[in-house]
């Protein structure tokens, strides 16, 4: 399209007008740089978000008992609802088609001691399926199994930080710890993506906890998971049925807002995803505005550049430059500068994003692994170049149309 000679002429012009080149290039590079870093930060924010809420399984219901507020079927209001072991098996029988797994959870705080080290930890008395609901990752040993439930064994699975605090690097598996006055044997150590607090938990069999508490059969909460195949709509229907079933079983009025609570993670997840999407839209909006102001910036500079060169254009036209040649040389010069500086800005942005991502940013500003998809970055850069070209074309064309005598008079 362009001869080597034309390019050489363009290079020379660029080389000999350093300030002009710098101004144009700087605007473009800055625009793209801001876009890339901003967009990357937005993605980082989203990552943090996903991490916060991605800790638990997404097909899980948490069922909590409450206190009734409406009298129903001869029962007075203000009655405390309690779950017991029978409820677990009843739910299992009734919803076997929809249910993937179910586990109770009884949470108690306890002073835990090993040798001279002791501290308060939260203990969760659970069933084997609880491992899946919390996405507990075993580092060593094993989790609580059915035999532990049946045998009411005094086994404990401790969090990574519990091991770190109490055992100080010593091997913990097989050792005995004092847990609120009872001696438990450590059979496993786990880690959890949910953060440090999750790793300060201790899991024990729920039957053992019930045994310690005077052989009761009460349960704090029920955690259950539906089969993922039933989908979001299926989960919502399941939630409704489960709610009705439990209200009927525990004699709670269907209108009572407080008798029983079901927290549906799928529902939360959907809300969270919506929130994240809105966040992404806001960030995209800002990034888009940055690109627009970048385009306006280049347009202004192009107008200035052409104005500054009016006399030169007049001279060139007097010497035989056709309007087309004038337009082309201005245009290709601007394309060349915007392309180079656009990609330079993009690369600097990507490098900076890679450098700033780290622990401080993650902990203090909730930005995890800021990144930008290369497609997005390249698209934005090309958009800026194309718009810059169009913005440059208009003044370039007008300048090329000025009569040479008018242009020559320009000082």
């Amino acid at each position: 399209m362009l001869s080597r000679d034309t390019w050489k002429e363009i290079f020379e012009t660029i080389q000999k007008n350093k300030l002009r080149t710098f101004l144009t290039g700087f605007t473009v590079a800055l625009g793209i740089f801001i876009f890339v870093t901003l967009f990357g930060m937005g993605n980082g924010l989203n990552n943090t978000f996903a991490k916060f809420f991605g800790d638990d399984a997404t097909n899980v219901f948490f069922v909590f008992p409450g206190r009734t507020t409406i009298p129903y079927k001869g029962y007075k209001a203000n009655r405390r609802i309690e779950f017991e072991n029978k409820d677990l098996t009843d739910i299992e029988d009734k919803f076997s088609m929809l249910l993937e797994y179910i586990s109770p959870r009884i949470t108690r705080n306890a002073l835990v001691t090993y040798n001279d080290e002791s501290d308060n930890y939260s203990t969760r008395a659970v069933g084997p399926a609880h491992q899946f609901a919390e996405k507990t990752i075993l580092m060593k040993g094993r989790y609580i199994n059915e035999n532990d439930i049946k045998g009411k064994t005094k086994y404990a699975v401790i969090g990574r930080l519990v091991e770190q605090d109490l055992f100080k690097g010593e091997e913990s598996i097989g050792k005995f710890i004092d847990l609120g006055g009872s001696v438990f044997k450590v059979i496993g150590v786990f880690q959890d993506d949910g953060g440090d607090n999750e790793e300060r938990n201790i899991y024990i069999p729920f039957t053992t906890r019930q045994l310690i508490e005077k052989n009761t059969d009460k349960i704090d909460q029920i955690i259950l998971a539906f089969r993922p195949e039933i989908g979001y709509a299926g989960a919502m229907a399941f939630e409704g049925k489960l709610d009705a079933f439990l209200r009927d079983k525990k004699f709670i009025s269907p209108e009572d807002p407080n008798g029983i609570f079901i927290r549906n993670v799928a529902d939360n997840l959907k809300q969270n995803q919506q929130f994240a999407a809105v966040l992404q839209i806001i960030i995209s909006g800002i990034a888009f505005a940055v690109i627009i102001s970048g385009i306006i910036g280049i347009s202004n500079i192009m107008v200035f550049v052409v104005k500054e060169r009016t006399k030169e254009i007049g001279i060139r036209k007097a010497l035989g430059a056709t309007p087309r040649k004038v337009t082309n040389s201005i245009l290709f010069e601007s394309i060349f500068i915007t392309t180079i500086s656009g990609f330079v800005g993009m690369i600097i942005g990507v490098v900076v994003l890679g450098q700033i991502g780290g622990k401080t940013l993650e902990d203090d500003y909730f930005i995890t692994n800021p990144y930008i998809a290369s497609g997005t970055a390249v698209f934005a850069t090309i958009l800026l170049i194309v718009c810059g070209t169009i913005a440059g074309y208009i003044p370039a064309r007008r300048a090329a149309k000025i009569k040479p005598i008018v242009a020559l008079r320009d000082e």
Binding site: E12, T13, E312, R316, A318, G320, T322, P323, K325, K401
Partner: protein, 234 residues
Amino acid sequence: MIEIKDLHKSYKMGSNSLHVLKGINFSCEAGELVAIMGSSGSGKSTLLNILGMLDEADSGEYTLDGVPIKDLSETKAANYRNKFLGFVFQSFNLINYKSAMENVALPLYYQRVPRKERQEKSLKYLERVGLREWATHLPSELSGGQKQRVAIARAMAAEPKVLLADEPTGALDSTTSYEVMDLIQKINDEGNTILVVTHEPDIAEMCKRVIHLKDGVIVEDKKVEQVRASQYVK
């Protein structure tokens, strides 16, 4: 070489229109050195601009080297200027970020002359105006007379049919003016056609023919005995 008939030109100034050229008839042969004189506002620059296709006449005929110049698009005018005409301006109009040599080479670039040949040619023409050693200097490093000589070299490099000079000595002191006129005379001696717009009588006397313009018409057209500028040049 140049043939114009009944040329009219007026400028719109708001609601008034200013009739600058009121029917100019003029012709000139190849190899002539013509001075166009007149007080300011007489229309001499307008005439030169029309001859140089930098501006268009309202009516009248203009033939340059047998080619009728009419209905010019910008592109066509640019091509004709490139092929037929060389310009020398009062304010030199060199491109300030290009060296003397690059300035001289510019019209050749628009003629699509290959780069190497451009360089050779521009050096040759710089040599002719005595500025070969200054080839790599920027216009800002040259004196007024030197700049004008570079401009003349640039105008000649394209080997035009006609050289048009608009007050070529207007911004120079008399010594440098004579140097420039000496150069113009030498170029004319080689057979080039040159038109010089001036208001200085001594410059006009160094041409071979003087045309007086007054209020948009030619009032006098005479051949003169040429005064050689070389006698004033040391």
